[in-house]
């Protein structure tokens, strides 16, 4: 039986090279999603292999620096960017301005979108008024709006934040609306029978019920806006990570371009992780209704 086999070490399990005790006793694993472990060993291996390849190609000069920068040069460039900044603007400032734009855009979008979504979920008039606009705007990629927004606002800060506001507005509206529509009628009925007024139902039943979906909306909006801000900065900006890699490209600084891309990936990943952590903290009842 299973007990006869040697018990794998904790390290092997952490690395995903051995299954946990429960999975080891499953006889049918193919098709059972919970029997697929983290495979952490292979993740580590992939990263190590990629870096080794990069190192080797730097040493032996396999790739033209114009297409892909050597590792040592990139590290040097990164140190220089951190110490001296890029084009008289500190590196952290380039990163912060992009993050700041995303946060402002998402907050403004939430500020307008959540009440709008509530109205659409609760009133036929509001639904009728806004449904055509929301449904029409939804499939338009925010980037397609850049030319129009440049015509309206030029390329200053307002333009970028307005673009991100639009990008998150419809996501937030739809999230709030679907949250309101998914409120179980038995909860609303229970609250009325407990003597709650309409405003109390809104505040104490509908609002908490929509929070998980609103949170998912904010998470999605953050992700979309992060992608959009970088793209918008590629088109028109003098600061921000997107503008940094675009300007670096014009000067054929491939290493700065690569560093910029790594930063974009890392920040996007970090935003997602922070949002997931906040979600567990703030709406622990998600999916438990």
């Amino acid at each position: 039986m299973a007990e006869n086999g040697k018990r794998p070490s904790a390290l092997m399990m952490w690395l995903g090279l051995a299954d946990n005790a429960f999975t080891r006793q499953k006889t049918v694993k193919f098709g059972d999603a919970s029997a697929v472990n983290s495979g952490r060993f292979y993740s580590i291996a992939v990263v190590v292999v990629l870096f080794t390849l990069w190192t080797l190609s730097s040493i032996f000069g396999w790739v033209e620096p114009f297409f892909w920068p050597p590792l040592d040069g990139t590290v040097e460039r990164a140190a220089k960017l951190i110490n001296e900044g890029f084009r008289n603007v500190a590196l952290w400032e380039h990163v912060w301005i992009s993050v700041y734009r995303v946060i402002s855009g998402v907050l403004l979008g939430a500020l307008v979108g959540i009440p709008l979504g509530f109205a659409m979920g609760l009133s036929s008039i509001a639904r009728g008024l806004f449904d055509p606009i929301v449904e029409f705007m939804r499939p338009i990629p925010p980037l397609a709006l850049i030319p129009l927004i440049i015509l309206w606002f030029g390329i200053d800060e307002t333009a970028k934040i307005f673009l991100l506001f639009l990008a998150s507005l419809f996501i937030m509206t739809i999230a709030a609306r679907s949250g309101v529509s998914s409120v179980k009628i038995s909860k609303v009925h229970a609250a009325y029978s407990l003597g709650a007024s309409r405003i109390q139902i809104l505040r104490h039943v509908i609002l908490p019920n929509t929070l998980p979906e609103i949170f998912t909306g904010i998470r999605t909006a953050m992700g979309v806006c992060w992608g959009t801000v970088v793209a918008a900065e590629l088109v028109a900006a003098d600061r921000g990570v997107g503008s940094m890699i675009m300007i670096a490209k014009n000067f054929l600084q491939t290493d700065t371009v690569v560093i910029g891309i790594l930063i974009i990936g890392a920040i996007g990943y970090a935003i997602e992780m922070v949002m997931r952590w906040l979600e567990r903290l703030l709406v622990p009842w998600k999916g438990k209704g």
Partner: protein
């Protein structure tokens, strides 16, 4: 306190492109204050519809429900509800679920806290006040639902298959709890169930409804709920008169079900 007066209530659902559904036709029923009444009947005979009308969530096509000297026109704290499941507020812990009614009414905190403490003891959940409701078992959740309803001190408690989602053993325990609550609070209780056993054991009165159109077929007065307060439930449920009644009602419901099968879908 006053009973429930159901006066010639009819309910017709009119759906576009389909025949009207006569969910209830001329239902009249007087329920005295402090009675515990169970309602039984085949699926689709209008039990939930009747309860929703009494609760005030639906207004009947004809007729009216009266209580405490006024006509029912909407939901009100005088009529508490206990649903089958999923009506607890999962974002609140047990204590705050139970305190929901008093909190909405703006009752003083100290008073509410004492009341919640009492109710937790009454339904056997002492010490669980801080738990999130989604960490409780189905039976415990229904205890919370009962306590939440009682915290509001309604005149009438309406329950739609409150024990329907529970396993047989938990169900028996909860039946005992409902009888105990009935005895200790003296509330008027109307309880819908699919279980003949449960309807017989819990109802000092048992209403059997028939479908198409939904109507009251039989109205029994029964001694078993009173007996259940003092005797062992097992004994009550194995006594000869209980068994006889059970068989009688079971065959009545069976013949209704067979009629439905034979009658197809038409009304």
């Amino acid at each position: 306190m006053d009973g429930i007066h159901i006066d010639n209530v009819s309910m017709t659902f009119t759906l576009p492109g389909a025949a009207d559904i006569h969910a209830l036709k001329d239902v009249s029923l007087e329920i005295g204050a402090g009675e515990i009444v169970t309602v039984l009947g085949p699926s689709g005979c209008g039990k939930t519809t009747l309860l929703n009308i009494i609760a005030g969530f639906l207004s009947p096509t004809r007729g009216a429900v009266r209580l405490n000297g006024h006509e029912v026109r909407g939901p009100d704290a005088e009529r508490g509800m206990v649903f089958q499941q999923g009506a607890l507020f999962e974002w609140l812990n047990v204590e705050r679920n139970i305190a929901f009614g008093p909190n909405m009414a703006g009752r003083p905190r100290a008073e509410t806290r004492a009341k919640v403490e009492n109710l937790l003891n009454l339904v056997g959940l002492a010490g669980f006040g801080e738990k999130p409701v989604y960490q409780l078992s189905g039976g415990m959740q229904q205890r919370v639902a009962l306590a939440r309803c009682l915290a509001n001190d309604p005149d009438v408690i309406l329950m739609d298959e409150p024990l329907g989602a529970l396993d047989a053993l938990t169900r028996e325990k909860m039946q005992g709890l409902i009888l105990k609550l009935w005895q200790e609070t003296g509330k008027t209780i109307l309880l819908i169930t699919h279980s003949v056993e449960e309807a017989l054991f819990l109802g000092s009165r048992l209403i059997v409804m028939a479908p198409r159109p939904g109507r009251i077929e039989k109205d029994y007065r029964l001694p078993f709920a009173e007996r259940g307060l003092t005797q062992d439930p097992r004994e009550v449920k194995s006594s000869t008169d209980y068994v006889e009644r059970r068989e009688e009602i079971l065959s009545m419901i069976w013949s209704m079900e067979e009629e439905i099968m034979a009658g197809g879908t038409g009304e």
